[in-house]
């Protein structure tokens, strides 16, 4: 008895002993301090709009080469000996597309100002026959608009100083294009995933259907259904007139025996067998028994659309072609081996049978794992392929035209023909991006509104636009499913940031750490899967020579018994079955191990689907994924030591990936994991640890302080409103000439920050000002969310903003030789300059800095009266001119801010005049806090009438410019507002109250506070040192008693929004249309 006790004791001692670096086994695991630093490291490598940039980079570096490889030959119908081959394609760096220019370098800012396109030449290497020789040359075939900050952009990898020299803002995220001077974004498009089976039921009609949208390279899309109809299963496809009984379809695909059909679909499950029997009988009833009969049956129902009228082919041939190329086009058919396609159709059928039996087996089409995001790169690739094919067709006909001529003076050189091909590609790109119409007849694609003008109302609105996802389907339908918040959105799509109204829930935003994958070649992955013991079922998927994979093909002809065996898991790569495994867990674990060792792309995902007995490997583009910390044996692999290295700057985020400390999880793979939110939550089963909980919010929602204390719709309102805030928009804001620009004269960084604010640089380009706010009712002019401003604050510059408006004109040269001109101010009979011309200088333009009053002329342009007269042949100088001046129309005077004179690409003189108005807040201007609480200014009160606290601080402060320097941090700067307390109970924005407290604590202690989601400064922690000083008893300024109420006089950030502000002056008759029209 004593001995075991002693042993026990020994064991206990051992556990308690300090055996490794002074740490014992029972010591608490040291938590990883500052693991959130992985986030800035991630953003440093990837940037805020990495998804756009990665996708564009993939297009210009890899995809474009694949497209050219697929369309690389141009031959002639006339001369059979002629050929032209593209051997390589490269996209250069953006340059100036003007012949005479010496300095070819161009910056995006120049393009914006001069209304030109930021584009780079596309150079191809061609080989072609010239006479008897073969020649190789490099040709420029057009220009491709370049995404800013992509690998082809001149801004990439530049230091802040270099960017400043290029008049570019280092905080600008890039990811957009500059086309004809406007900034255009290709929004992320959300789609249902391609090449995957989706099973749905319609309970009303009692239909179960499995559908699959096939998409092969080149964008040819078709949708195939396997659906029930009156208890029987049919295959339905657009290219066939009527539904084909599934047994006939399978027979046509080469599975002739009924037994095999039954095994491949129903397997050995009795329930499925009986459900399927009716469908099996159908074929027999229709008299279809052999493959040939089946093909004849289908062939007679195939829609034929043939352009070239050839000899009519027999029906079975039509069927064979349709089945091989149109139906489920993504499943390859090599040498008429339909085996893999048959298995695919059988799988679809089986999924239908499963869903008929158990309605839980349907898929959720709103599940984020079933979605793919289409980005700029993919859309441009499609556009390029279309344009390139047309280019080649045009080239071919041009070559044919020359070759047709019987006698030529010189040897035919295709190079010269290419030189005269015009700018089909260039204009195609420019047209598509500037109009947003992706109309590609070749790929049956007709999409409008793909691109949008980048909103530059504020820094956040530009950033918010870059992370926006628009849904392709059902915008007007009143369905709730796609609009609802999906649990699978966690960590990848922001739960707060969505618009209200029509597009609610359909337009989404990416979360902070979301990454969207690009295509990864699947062939090495398949080979790897075979190496890891997957038993092949078919070789259809591989384009590799057979001998490479031959050793693994010993049971390539697996039957239904094997596929649906109780312990067999089917291995799919990108939705297509490649083989079977009996040890899915081991296989998946080994596969992951290899991925963590970086033997393959980190974006390949693998997961087990236990419902379908399947292992899915995905390497396709457009999947949504995010990084997490790997946990092994209950400990996160990232340790404090790693973070210390990160802080020192010796390692980057990529090192974490390479060493297998962090990995990307896509939404499907997340289902296979057990992710701990905090380190303390780690249990033995945990596989991963979140990097930081607040990354589940997007860039815009991340700006809200203490959002976790707010009622959720308030955060959503704030996401819409934060984008309207006026402030600084970019470091180069004063060098830009935008159509409309709102700037705040004195923007301030927020007192209560969040980590997201620092990460995106919102503290360096802030919008809004910190205001001293009294939460109290005052005067009755503050009901219904109105707020009251202190006049002295406004005098001192609170909320002062500037509106800059662009005015453009062209000084044109006309085809008949005449041209516009600028004239100096005309004199009247007294030799005086008329009032409206008083700011025009000698060059016919208004002087910079001059005040422009309503009705003033700021560009005194004159045009020839006969500009459109093409028969005119006289002296251009002698033509009569008429005045075509630019007149200032706004009812409020402005100042000339900037005048720019330049040339456009087609050599017309371009004049831009920027006119500035400086405005001070007035009644009716809209203000908002950061919690979706907006209000308009209802009253402006003199400083002496405002309530004041013990220290004389009223909401409306007491500093003038001098005090910035002479008084320390405890100065309450003088900006302020009174807000009605009735704004709180119904809105339940507790976060706003906490922000008030934290802001005041910060002011009193001279520190900035943090209000990061799921963290931030604690109320107890921040306010404890100040004690009850957080509430003030306010004196009434306009009466003589002390106010009876206990009031909050606190510091809060008020963001000014004058976005909806009407320029003063001028009334509109709203009842005009009520008047009798006679």
């Amino acid at each position: 008895m004593a001995i075991p006790m002693e042993e026990d004791q020994n064991e206990w001692d051992q556990i308690n002993a300090r055996n490794w670096k002074g740490i014992g086994l029972t010591d608490p695991i040291k938590s990883v301090e500052d693991k959130w630093l992985l986030l800035p490291a991630f953003l440093k490598v990837k940037g805020l709009v990495k998804q756009h940039i990665d996708s564009f980079n993939y297009f210009v570096e890899q995809d474009i080469k694949n497209i050219v490889k697929a369309n690389n030959k141009v031959t002639s119908d006339v001369d059979p000996r002629f050929w032209l081959k593209y051997t390589d394609i490269n996209v250069g760096f953006p340059d100036r597309n003007e012949m005479s220019s010496i300095d070819k370098k161009v910056t995006p800012n120049e393009c914006r100002l001069r209304d030109i396109t930021y584009a780079a030449p596309i150079m191809v290497t061609i080989q072609y026959t010239r006479g008897r020789s073969i020649v190789q040359r490099n040709v420029n075939i057009g220009r491709l608009p370049i995404m800013l900050r992509s690998s082809k952009c001149v801004l990439t990898g530049r230091s802040e100083a270099e960017l400043a020299r290029m008049i570019e803002c280092p905080l600008d995220p890039g990811g957009y294009f500059v086309v004809k001077g406007t900034e255009k974004v290709i929004l992320v498009q959300e789609q249902l995933s391609k090449n995957r089976i989706i099973v749905e039921t319609d309970t009303v009609k009692g239909i179960v259907q499995a559908s699959c949208t096939s998409s092969t390279h080149g964008g040819l899309k078709s949708k195939t259904y396997v659906a029930t109809k009156k208890g029987k299963i049919y295959l339905r496809h657009n290219c066939v007139h009527e539904d084909i009984p599934i047994a006939i379809a399978l027979k046509a695909l080469g599975i002739q025996s009924d037994k095999e059909i039954l095994l491949l679909t129903a397997g050995n499950t009795e329930a499925y067998k009986s459900a399927f029997s009716a469908s099996l009988e159908e074929a027999a009833k229709l008299g279809v028994f052999t493959r040939h009969q089946a093909l004849e049956y289908i062939g007679s129902r195939v829609k034929i659309n043939r352009r070239v009228m050839g000899p009519r082919r027999p029906a079975w041939e039509e069927a064979l072609e349709a089945l091989a190329t149109i139906v489920l086009a993504h499943v390859p058919v090599n040498a008429l081996d339909f085996r893999s396609k048959a298995i695919f159709v059988a799988t679809m059928t089986r999924r239908v049978l499963m869903a008929m039996e158990d309605e839980k087996m349907v898929d959720d089409r709103d599940y984020v794992g079933n979605k793919r995001l289409e980005l700029a790169g993919q859309l441009l690739a499609l556009l390029f392929e279309d344009l390139f094919k047309t280019y080649n067709t045009n080239l071919k006909s041009a070559i044919d035209k020359v070759l047709k001529k019987p006698s030529r003076t010189s040897e035919f050189d295709a190079f010269n023909t290419m030189q005269f091909q015009g700018d089909h590609l260039t204009s195609g790109f420019v047209r598509a991006i500037s109009t947003g119409n992706w109309s590609l007849k070749r790929f049956k694609m007709e999409r409008a509104g793909v691109t949008h003008v980048l909103s530059r109302l504020s820094f956040i609105s530009a950033l918010g636009m870059m992370t926006r996802i628009s849904s392709q389907f059902e915008k007007t339908r009143k369905v709730s499913g796609p609009r609802a918040l999906q649990p699978s959105q966690w960590g990848v799509l922001c739960p707060s940031d969505t618009p209200e109204g029509e597009a609610c829930g359909l337009v989404k935003n990416l979360a902070l750490m979301t990454h969207i994958t690009t295509d990864v070649d699947e062939e090495p992955i398949i080979r790897l899967a075979f190496m890891l013991g997957v038993e092949g079922t078919s070789i259809g998927n591989l384009t590799t020579p057979k001998r490479l994979i031959a050793p693994f093909l010993d049971i390539s002809l697996a039957t239904g018994t094997e596929i649906y065996g109780p312990h067999t898991f089917v291995v799919n790569v990108n939705g297509t079955i490649i083989g079977l495994t009996r040890y899915p867990t081991r296989f998946v674990a080994q596969f992951r191990k290899l991925r963590r060792a970086r033997r393959m792309s980190e974006f390949v995902s693998i997961y087990i689907n236990n419902h379908h007995h399947a292992v899915h490997i995905a390497s396709d583009g457009g999947r949504i994924c995010r990084p997490t910390i790997i946990v092994e044996d209950g400990r996160p692999k990232v340790t404090s030591e790693h973070i210390a290295l990160l802080k020192k700057g010796t390692v980057t985020f990529d090192d974490f990936l390479r060493r297998g400390l962090v990995e990307y999880l896509d939404v499907n793979e997340e289902n296979d994991t057990y992710i701990a939110l905090y380190e303390s939550d780690i249990v033995p089963a945990t596989t991963h640890l979140e990097i930081e909980p607040f990354t589940l919010l997007g860039a815009v929602a991340g700006l809200i302080p203490y959002p976790h204390h707010n009622q959720s719709p308030r955060n959503t309102y704030q996401c819409a409103m934060g984008k309207q805030a006026i402030g600084a928009i970019a470091y180069n804001q004063l060098n830009r000439i935008d159509t409309l620009l709102y700037l705040l004269v004195y923007p301030q960084q927020p007192m209560v920050k969040t980590k997201t604010i620092e990460l995106i640089g919102y503290d360096r380009l802030p919008a809004g000002q910190n205001a001293t706010v009294a939460v109290m009712s005052f005067s009755g002019y503050d009901i219904e969310d109105a707020l009251i401003l202190n006049k002295a604050s406004l005098d001192r510059g609170y909320g002062r903003c500037q509106v800059l408006r662009k005015n453009v004109t062209l000084i044109r040269k006309y085809p008949n030789g005449t041209f516009d001109r600028l004239a100096d101010a005309p004199l009247d009979e007294n030799g005086q300059v008329a009032k409206k011309y008083d700011i025009i200088q000698m060059d016919g333009l208004a002087g910079v800095g001059e005040r422009v009053d309503p009705g003033d002329i700021y560009i005194n342009k004159q045009s020839p009266t006969n500009a459109t007269d093409n028969t005119f042949t006289g002296q251009a100088a002698s033509v009569p001119y008429k005045n075509t001046p630019m007149t200032y129309k706004s009812p409020v005077a402005g100042n000339i801010d900037k005048v720019m004179i330049s040339d456009t690409e087609n050599d017309q003189t371009l004049i831009k005049v920027l006119i500035r108005q400086t405005r001070r807040p007035e009644l009716g201007d809209k203000f908002s806090s950061r919690h979706g609480q907006k209000g308009v200014c209802g009253l402006i009160v003199n400083q002496e009438d405002m309530p004041f606290n013990d220290r004389g601080i009223n909401p409306g402060g007491c500093f003038r410019i001098c005090t910035i320097k002479t008084r320390s941090a405890d100065v309450e700067s003088g900006t302020d507002t009174i807000m009605n307390p009735h704004g709180f109970p119904s809105r339940m924005t507790v976060g706003k109250m906490i922000e008030l407290l934290a802001g005041k604590a910060g002011v009193l202690s001279g520190n900035l506070q943090y209000g990061t989601a799921f963290g931030g400064s604690k109320v107890g922690g921040t306010s404890a040192p100040i004690g009850r000083r957080l509430t003030d008893v306010l004196g009434r300024g306009h009466e003589s008693d002390i106010d009876r109420e206990r009031l909050q006089l606190c510091r809060q950030r008020y963001v000014d929004e004058w976005y909806h502000r009407r320029a003063s002056g001028g009334l509109r008759l709203f009842w005009a249309d009520l008047l009798p029209s006679e």
Binding site: T918, C958, G1027, R1028
Partner: protein, 355 residues
């Protein structure tokens, strides 16, 4: 008459954890039967008044008046004592990054050291004269320093005039001004206010006209950074504080307010320093001090604090305010007398001053 710790209980405003009691004053004639509370100058003069003065601010106690009087002074100080500030800016050249109107606004806010008594108010359409306008010039250009330190990032080493400061304002005497302002030439009160940052090649050339006006017109004419008052705190310890809680009790108040006897650990309120207390009510949060202490403020004891940010010396501000108040009273009295003297049928309207 009940007294609480030597102060008439009627003079106290109660400060409780969640509310404030006895806000309104009651010491006016007719409120208490048999008591006369009419204004008594002797009584007012008997009360102690003290002052503390620093370069730019003054603190003094105003005791024994109604809040309406104290508040009137506060309001006049903020809004009605005139000062000089730059109102008109003529820009000849401005190549800085700061726009003309923004720079003009900033310059307008610079407090000027010009005694307003020496000048007259200028009516809106009146022509500027040496009696109502003081002219300044601003003529600054930033240039590269000839032998700048290589590699330095400090603008002080690299450029001349890289900041446009308030000290760059040059007074331009007109007419009799040279004589009038001989002893104290007009200049900003603070020479170190940064108005704009410059870089080589940027220049500012402006003519600035300062006029006299009041804070109600624009905050830049307000002579004070802040002028406000608070009420004298009054702390009543109702039950002795146990010695072991003495320090905790002390920490609930502003430093110096509570004295602890080093031997007995007995707690007492410092008679003089009690004015330092913020009446934060921290002490009311702790259950151990419940019913042991009562917080209050003296309703007619105003601790005034005035920070001058203008040509006025801080001690001059209150007399100025009183002067303005007297002028107002004079106008009001005249109007009232005119009303009394007027025949019932005659037009009873009396021209008030610009109030």
């Amino acid at each position: 008459m009940t007294t609480r710790n030597g102060i008439d209980a009627r003079r106290l405003v109660g400060v409780h954890a969640e509310r404030i009691t006895d806000v309104s004053s009651t010491d006016y004639p007719g409120h208490y039967p048999g008591e006369d509370h009419s204004w008594d100058l002797q009584k007012f003069q008997k009360v102690r008044r003290e002052e503390r003065l620093s370069q730019r601010s003054i603190e003094f106690d105003l005791v024994g008046v109604d809040a309406s009087i104290a508040n009137a002074f506060r309001r006049i100080l903020i809004a009605e004592v005139p000062t000089m500030a730059i109102e008109h800016v003529y820009v000849w050249n401005n190549t800085t990054v700061i726009q003309d109107e923004v720079l003009a606004h900033r310059i307008g806010l610079v407090p000027l050291n010009i005694d307003p008594a020496l000048l007259e108010m200028r009516a809106p359409n009146e022509t500027p004269t040496d009696r109502n306008t003081v002219v300044f010039r601003l003529n600054v250009e930033c240039t590269q320093k000839p032998n700048a330190i290589k590699g330095s990032k400090n603008p002080d080493d690299l450029y001349i005039n890289h900041e446009l400061l308030s000290s760059h304002l040059e007074w331009e005497p007109a007419g009799e001004q040279a004589e009038v302002f001989r002893t104290c030439p007009p200049a900003p009160t603070n020479p170190n206010i940064v108005l704009a940052k410059l870089r080589p090649g940027q220049a500012v050339e402006m003519e600035l006209h300062a006029i006299k006006s009041v804070g109600r017109d624009h905050a830049k004419f307000s002579p004070v950074a802040t002028a406000s008052y608070r009420l004298l705190p009054h702390i009543i310890i109702k039950q002795p504080i146990p010695p072991h809680l003495a320090e905790k009790f002390q920490k609930c108040f502003a430093p110096g307010v509570i004295n602890i006897d080093p031997r007995t650990k007995a707690v007492s309120v410092d008679k003089y320093n009690v004015r330092k207390d913020t009446v934060s009510r921290e002490v009311l949060r702790h259950p151990e001090f419940v019913d042991k202490v009562e917080l209050s403020r003296v309703r007619d004891h105003f601790l005034f604090n005035i920070e001058s940010e203008s040509a006025y010396a801080p001690e001059r501000l209150l007399p100025e305010a009183i002067q303005i108040m007297r002028e107002k009273i004079a106008i009001l009295r005249k109007a009232a007398e005119a009303l009394l003297n007027a025949d019932g049928a005659a037009d009873g309207d009396v021209q008030m001053a610009d109030a």
